[in-house]
């Protein structure tokens, strides 16, 4: 796939390197002369092409052949720039998949299809989710959002008070719009079957739509 990355900082370079190793054709666009010159001189990341231009300009994006790109990742350190790049990629070049980085968590609400963003990644939100997962028992922890929040992957660690303790999954009466996709018990990952019995302290990973969220909370948390 042809991937164009806007922003050649540590994030952009890391993504470029990984994707290049994965066999993709990668171009990084950055407007800082020193950054581009240094990267070209040291030939890093290996095999990745660089283009010195302002990715917020339509002409620059046209020169970067965005009309042939399969994915654009806007990962600069500036949320305004990331939004502008995302909107231009979608509106002016019809890029099928636009991924954008959220720097300030206060701006996350804007990173949606109105601004041309298909997937947004917010490091602060990810960290919150991971910390909560480690410390909270008996609450619903969001791990990942799909389709602009219509579905999410969430995790619940069963507390002593959970009504699901000792129950078979098949007898829980799970709503049709939700599924238990894995149960983590200690070091083991258990593939859930209707006859799997849930126990206290199990980490239950569920795929759930927005409508079914309340039902799942009631069944697993009480």
């Amino acid at each position: 796939m042809r991937v164009v990355i806007a922003g050649g900082g540590s994030v952009g370079k890391f993504i470029a390197e990984q994707l290049h190793e994965g066999g993709h054709e990668v171009l990084i666009v950055d407007n800082d002369h020193a950054t581009v010159a240094r990267a070209l001189k040291n030939n890093e990341p290996k095999g990745v092409a660089w283009f010195e231009a302002d990715a917020c300009e339509i002409a620059a994006l046209a020169d970067a052949n965005l009309d042939k790109a399969d994915v654009v990742a806007a990962v600069t350190g500036d949320d305004e720039d990331n939004l502008v790049i995302s909107l231009l990629a979608k509106q002016e070049f019809g890029v099928p998949r636009v991924v954008a980085r959220v720097n300030n968590p206060k701006n996350e609400w804007m990173f949606n299809e109105t601004w041309g963003v298909d997937v947004s990644v917010s490091t602060p939100h990810l960290i919150t989710g991971l910390v909560q997962e480690a410390v909270t028992e008996g609450s619903f922890v969001r791990l990942l959002n799909f389709e602009g929040g219509k579905a999410q992957l969430a995790e619940v660690t069963l507390a002593d008070t959970s009504p699901a303790n000792g129950q078979e999954i098949g007898e829980l009466g799970f709503p049709r719009d939700a599924n238990i996709v894995a149960v983590v018990r200690g070091d083991r990952v258990i593939m859930p079957r209707p006859d799997t019995i849930l126990r206290v302290h199990d980490e239950v990973i569920v795929l759930v739509t927005a409508e079914a969220g309340d039902d799942v909370r009631r069944l697993l948390i009480g």
Partner: protein
């Protein structure tokens, strides 16, 4: 003339409408929607067949389906509820870049010209 009348009587309303739209928009120097390439700047025209306000993530989004008898294209205006002149039945010319959204031809925030 009699043959023309017979042909008209044997054709469905949809086909007649397609033929009428094709006649109307063929004379303008625009691309028929069915031939319009994806992901390239295009100029297409047609009559507005459908207007809907579809909220996306709590934001109002105006969606307009335009047809010229060869195909349809959906123009999406983000953050708008209404645009004066873009009403059902109105003829418009749209300029923008189309991309594929689940099999639909979609132009995001196109430039538009209202035709009389």
């Amino acid at each position: 003339m009699l043959k023309g009348l017979r042909d008209r009587l044997h054709t469905s309303l949809d086909d007649l409408d397609c033929a009428r739209l094709q006649d109307r928009f063929a004379c303008l120097s625009i691309t028929p929607i069915a031939d319009a390439p994806m992901r390239q700047p295009i100029v297409v025209g047609g009559e507005i067949k459908r207007v809907l306000i579809a909220p996306h993530n709590g934001m109002a989004t105006l969606e307009i389906v335009v047809g010229d008898g060869t195909g349809t294209v959906t123009a999406v205006f983000s953050g708008r509820r209404h645009i004066a002149g873009l009403d059902h039945g109105r003829a418009v010319v749209l300029e923008g870049v189309a991309h594929d959204v689940k099999g639909k031809r979609v132009i995001l925030n196109p430039a538009y010209t209202l035709l009389p």
